[in-house]
Amino acid sequence: ANEPFRVGYVRVMDDAQAMLAYEAGLYEKYGLDAQLIEFSSGTDLIKGIVGGQLDIGVLGFSNAFTWASRGADLKIVGGAQRGYHSLVVREDAGIESVADLKGKNLASQKQGSTADIVLKGVMLDNAGLQPGDLNIMGVAPAVAIQSLVGGRVDAAFLFEPYDRIAQLVAPVRQIYEIGEVWPFPCMVVITSAETLEKRKDVLWAALDAQREAIAMLENEPAKAAPLITGYFIKEPVVKSLNQGDIPSEQVIEQAIQTNDFSAKLTDADISRMKELAAIMQAQGILPAGEAFDVDSLLDLSWQQAREL
């Protein structure tokens, strides 16, 4: 019999590997009876891992940092995706650069989410803006798109596939993408130390399955897209502003292509994680004082064993 295994995910492109591994039957292939459990955000998902109701989750590592800093015993066991967060602005808003956001309305993610942290700690900071200089509202991505269409906000900080959808349906253009400027391993695979200790084989099998899914996303996006489109777009076509109807699968395929999926955490990734930890300390999310110990959170034995 296959091993029962509970995977938490959030319905975003960043988590495509989990959805694809499930839809393409890869978990089964590696001998797992996987159960996919949806969460509305990484901040919710992490509680499932802390509470022991999930075996792994694919989510922003910042969540693991916050909980680890409060005493939860968590492990980051693999990479998933490099952060893709773009700033799209309405064409009539007169925003040419990030610095022009001053005094404008910006739709973003929930406060405390990874997106929110890099938005404030990297994008705004680099442009010399304080969070208080503009009006930031944390809303769901679909609502952000709706608001861009209706003109209630001037700009939105989005990830895939919403960035792509926004550019199709709203009078907006992308002026910034953090992955180009400041690539960082946004999504990682997180588990609890207990699971790692007791169910290492199963865990590694899941990582293998997800690695295969990542390979498909990177190499055969056209094959992967139809399997996961249903997670993001219900209608068969997206009614775009200028290009007529576009098949939904095509939108998702493009979204997959813009993302940079990777099962491995490189040294560069790890140093980014440390930079971000410092930012989180500055924002008061992590306790100030001593530098946050990122290394003790990492368990890279799987990628070492697989010689990635």
Binding site: F39, S41, D44, V143
Partner: protein, 256 residues
């Protein structure tokens, strides 16, 4: 009998008229607002009809109803017990009441972040939040009612030689029933609100609130309106049909 039937029919008529007026107002709003902000009534009804055919809908409904049942049921039982005990024990009553009033002023939804972490992601945190919402009004109403059982009713039973148990079963319990039911209906309102908002916040496992919140997140206005419709109809049916019927049965003597 004939009388109460007649008024029953009259009020059914009032409900039908009221529903028609509400739907009309909605449709008028839909005419003035763009489609993606407010769907037409027929569109929403059609979606509703589709939903009623999908097993996913019944899964969510089942989840919500079992959480409601567990939370509300637990609250009723414990509220009645605590209320009866508190109402008869003079020593602890005022402290107990003060405690209830203080804890009651915390919206039960505020416990969600705490319980999510303490109890994890099962049904438990939602059930507990629902139970907390319903517990306080039940306990308070039973306690107040027990305290104010008419003295002459107690004296009369004592004079007739009632034992403690007979007193409880035949005097206290029926005497508090009217207020208990009022409290239970109030409690139902709280439980229902707590259920929907907890499900909206918790963002986990299918349910009515989750489905509503999700429709909102994907900006699916038809979905939002259908979900609101389902929530409204369910609450109205539970409160106005089921609870009212139980009330009429238990308090039959008042309606003759």
């Amino acid at each position: 009998m004939a009388d109460s039937n007649a008024s029953g029919v009259a009020s059914k008529r009032a409900y039908v008229v009221a529903i028609a007026v509400i739907l009309l107002m909605w449709q008028v709003a839909a005419w003035f607002l763009p489609d993606f902000l407010m769907p037409d009534v027929p569109v929403a009804l059609q979606r509703l009809w589709q939903e009623l055919q999908s097993p996913a809908f019944y899964e969510g409904l089942g989840n919500s109803m079992s959480r409601l049942g567990a939370g509300y049921g637990a609250a009723l039982v414990s509220g009645i017990i605590l209320g009866l005990v508190g109402g008869t024990l003079n020593a602890v009553r005022s402290t107990l009441k003060a405690g209830i009033i203080i804890l009651q002023s915390i919206p039960s939804i505020a416990w969600v972040p705490l319980f999510l972490i303490l109890m994890g992601f099962g049904n438990l945190p939602i059930i507990v939040v629902v139970a907390i919402g319903a517990f306080f009004p039940t306990a308070l109403s039973v306690m107040n009612a027990t305290e104010s059982v008419e003295k002459v009713h107690i004296s009369a039973a004592r004079v007739m030689g009632a034992s403690k148990l007979q007193m409880l079963r035949r005097v206290y319990f029926p005497a508090v029933t009217p207020e208990l039911i009022t409290g239970a209906q109030l409690a139902f309102g709280n439980a229902w609100r707590a259920l929907i908002s907890a499900e909206m916040i918790v963002g986990f496992s299918a349910g009515l609130g989750k489905s509503l919140a999700y429709s909102g997140e994907i900006a699916d206005m038809t979905g939002v309106m259908t979900n609101i419709l389902v929530i409204a109809v369910l609450a109205a049916v539970i409160d106005q049909v089921i609870l009212e019927r139980i009330k009429h049965r238990l308090l039959r003597y008042q309606y003759l």
